[in-house]
Amino acid sequence: MYSSYTSRATSPSMLYTPPLLHCSQPLSKNSYNILNAFCTEENVVQCISYINQEMSSLGIPIISNGSNGKTDLNLVSVLNTIYELLQLWRKSMRTMEDMENQQLKSNSDLDHLHSSHSKVKEQLELCKRENKALQERDRQLQLKTKSLHNCLKNEKEEVQKLQNIIASRATQYNHDMKRKEREYSKLKERLHQLLMDKKDKKLAIEVLNYVGRSDGKRSVWKTGKTEARNEGEMYKVLLSDYEHRQKDLMVENAELKKVLQQMKKEMVSILSPQKHSTKEKIEDSLEQTVSDCEEDAGEHGRENISLELSCEDAREQLTNSIRQQWRRLKNHMEKLDNQASLVQMGAQNEKDLISRDIHEEEIEKLKLEIQQCKDLITNQQQLWQQQLSCPCDDETGALLRDCYLLEEKERLKEEWRLFDDQRKNFERERRNFTEAAIRLGHERKEFEEDRATWLKHQFLNITPFVDRKKPHTAKSHSALSTGLDLEKQNLHTAPAQQNKVTRHTSLSTPKSSSSSSSLKMPCTADLYRTLCLIPDKSSPSTQPKRSSLQDTNIKLYSSQLSTPKPRLSITSDDSYICSITGDENRL
């Protein structure tokens, strides 16, 4: 806008335009008061034309269009113009305010920027200073290292020098030493010479009488022969020592070889079952393993030779075969290792999977259950509500009760039946017992009779006139004496008697087992443990024959120390016989 005014420099009253433009409305009011106002009576026309001009330049319709100097101002247009001017002025005022605000803002911004700029500048200065300091220090350090390097070099030189000195001193010392030693030896020589020359009177031995040699021999002249003999003896000593050592080594070697062979054998035995399994599994390796087996067979033969001859080739073969076996074993072990690790991995994986599946299943199940429970609850609630809302009639209630009673009745019947069965069982057992008691009574009676007869015989024996009964009594005596005799007797005696005996045993076994087991149980267990006779899995099978085995252990005890082999030959018939004898002993 300002520029537009400046371009209008041609106007006659240009001098007055700036106040007009810059003045606000009160100023324009004032302008009336002021003498040299813009418009006077005289220059109205000019003013109008001027204003018109100005207006047109501003794009506002002109106040009057009287081109002839007539002053007929259209009031409306003037007012419009004024209004427009006012509008314009306001607008410009607003924009100015805005501008001022903006300026203020930018000023503050500028201030802020200035301050921050200064701050940053300070920092920069600081950094620069620090940098300088560091550089300085670096330089100093470098100088130091340089000086130290120099020092080191000097020291090294000095060390070198000193080492040289030491070396020279050492050589000198050695030289001196040698010289001194030579002098010393010369002196010694001379001293010796002097001593020898002087014919030292004092140098003497006074002996009452010479004693014989400790070995009783006379000393011999020194001749070439003795020298040769000495040599020979020396070599003999050496030889014997070497022989001794060789023997020791041989023994050691033999032992080592034994160990080696044993190891090899064991290796073969370990490897062979594996081989079979691989044969079954992998057909490719069949040929190889077969050849291996053949090799093994060959090697066995060769080993024996090597043990005896210990020649180079054989040894090599032995070591080679061992090496081969070892390699195979190693491979096998590695394979096993791999398998084990694989199995482990697989197991782990499976475990993981299973657990996850189980989890999911479980969750599903639980969800289902919850659902069912919920359904049930709702049902119950419904029922409750129904019941509450409409109380049931008596008929249905009775029916329901009846139902319950029926159920109970049935249960009672079941129990009754069970009870009946039990009673029957009991009765049967009682009958058995009474029978057994009767039988026992009979047997006792028989026994009493036997005893009576025996006593009678005894009594008769005492009397002088019963000679012909002797064999019978002898038999009975033997029956009571030893188990082993009884064994034979059992074979000889009549079957009826044997039956009797067996019946006895059948009745008394529980008793005997309880009494004898209490006495012998620990020792049998111990025995078996010590003899390593009980394989773990066979223990149940031995259980029923416990009483019989107990008796065998007596036999075993007697034979255990002398011959360990019989313990392997415990057979069932053996023990059975023994059991009989044991019981008989008790009776």
Partner: protein
């Protein structure tokens, strides 16, 4: 254990005869020979001067008494008390004297190691061996007494001569590959000679009887080397103790190192039993026992009692720092001894003077450590059993066997500080030597063993 009464002696000179029947002791210039069983004086010989060395001949028939100051040797016979023999080395002087294994020759080393004179008691003959080397152990006889090895020094080189003792003929003479030979020792079977170099260089050479070099062993360089060398009685092992506080064991087949025994300052392995001697002042009149003790021991009223305690696993061994300024620093393994059955090796590290290390030679492992209250003066294995006797210069004797260890107070009036001890060849008794006194200590032999 029983103890005999106390006898006088001088210069720690007290020797059992090789056959175990006699005990020779020296008191100033007198030589007293006692019966070992009754301790009664059998013979009393009077020498010309104070005796400085005494040695039995191998057949226990003669005793040699050396008086180095006078350069004199007197020999006495047990069979003929009036028989006498005097050997005068004259102006050549005398520094060492020993019997030859046959018991009929005496080898004298003259001063400055000018020569070794071999005197015979059978004939008038005298032989000289020149150029013997002055070193730690320059002369050694084989166990069977057949050969003598002698270290020599000629023209600044070490030589070894092997003589046949029977007629003193030179069997072998060879140069040894050493800078400055320090010692030689025959293996017990008499077939291998171990030769070691001066401590400035770690070098052990093994020569066969016929002079062949069998092997050379060197563990390290540029440091103080071998301090002691010991053969096992079976000749199977050669133990080499060195200044680096280690013992190296060589085998007899390859002559290579089998194992290295270290002597660490801390023992961490809980399997190793550490017996620690704990001293206690006797409590006076506190209870009957101590009173009884005081009565019986009389003199030892104020002496300390001690017993062994087993220390728990991490044990700190007291270490002495050696003086670096002095020659022959007190560090390293200077003394080793194999038990008679080859089963154990006892070692002592000089900078751990209170400790005795016992190694199991079957397992090649450290077995037991004995930590004494005072520095170990002397230790010796029983010649019959694996039993070790130790003395530490106090009035006690310490015995160790695989079953355990025990300390025994010597019940003697007055102070009796055991400075050294010597087993009888039967292993049933030993002689304990204090500065001027000696007493015999009898072991209780378990039934069925004797």
């Amino acid at each position: 254990m029983n103890f005999s009464e106390v006898f006088k002696h001088s210069n720690q000179l007290c020797r059992f005869s090789p056959d175990g029947k006699y005990l020779a002791t020296c008191v100033q210039y007198r030589l007293v020979v006692r019966d070992v069983n009754t301790l009664q004086i059998l013979h009393l010989y009077t020498c010309l001067d104070q005796i400085q060395q005494v040695e039995w001949s191998s057949d226990s028939l003669f005793i040699l008494c050396a008086m180095f100051k006078r350069g004199l040797i007197q020999v006495w016979s047990l069979e003929q008390p009036d028989w006498h023999c005097k050997i005068d080395e004259g102006s050549a002087g005398l520094v060492a004297s020993r019997w030859s294994p046959d018991g009929r020759h005496i080898l004298n080393t003259t001063e400055f190691h000018l020569r070794v004179t071999v005197w015979s008691l059978c004939t008038k003959s005298v032989s000289y061996i020149k150029y013997p080397k002055a070193c730690q152990q320059g002369i050694d006889f084989t166990k069977d007494g057949r050969y003598l090895a002698l270290a020599e020094r000629r023209d600044c080189k070490d030589y070894i001569s092997i003589f046949v003792c029977n007629d003193w003929q030179l069997l072998r003479h060879f140069e040894s590959e050493t800078q400055d030979l320090a010692g030689i020792e025959w293996s017990p079977n008499g077939c291998v000679l171990a030769v070691w170099d001066t401590c400035l260089e770690y070098k052990v050479l093994l020569y066969s009887l016929d002079g062949r070099l069998l092997s050379t062993f060197s563990a390290y360089e540029w440091s103080l080397g071998v301090k002691s060398v010991m053969w096992s009685p079976s000749s199977q092992f050669l133990a080499i103790g060195s200044y680096d506080e280690k013992v190296r064991i060589l085998n007899h087949v390859t002559w290579k190192k089998i194992i290295e025994f270290e002597h660490p300052a801390t023992i961490n392995n809980p399997k190793i039993v550490v017996y620690k001697e704990v001293e206690k002042r006797a409590v006076l009149g506190n209870d009957d026992l101590s009173f009884h003790h005081n009565l019986t021991m009389g003199s030892s009223l104020f002496s300390t009692q001690s017993k062994y305690e087993v220390s728990p696993a991490p044990v700190q061994v007291p270490v002495i720092k050696p003086d670096p300024e002095r020659a022959n620093p007190k560090i390293g393994i200077a003394t080793m001894a194999f038990s008679s059955d080859n089963r154990y090796l006892a070692t002592k590290n000089d900078n751990m003077p209170n400790d005795l290390w016992i190694w199991d030679m079957q397992k090649l492992k450290l077995f037991v450590v004995l930590e004494q209250a005072a520095p170990v003066r002397c230790f010796q294995w029983d010649p019959r059993r694996p039993r070790l006797a130790i003395c530490t210069g106090n009035s006690k004797v310490y015995l160790w066997s695989p079953a355990g260890c025990v300390s025994v107070q010597v019940p003697v009036e007055g102070s009796f500080q055991v400075l050294s001890l010597n087993w009888h060849s039967s292993g049933e008794s030993m002689v304990l030597l204090s500065k001027e006194q000696l007493c015999l200590c009898y072991m209780e032999t378990p039934e069925g063993e004797s």
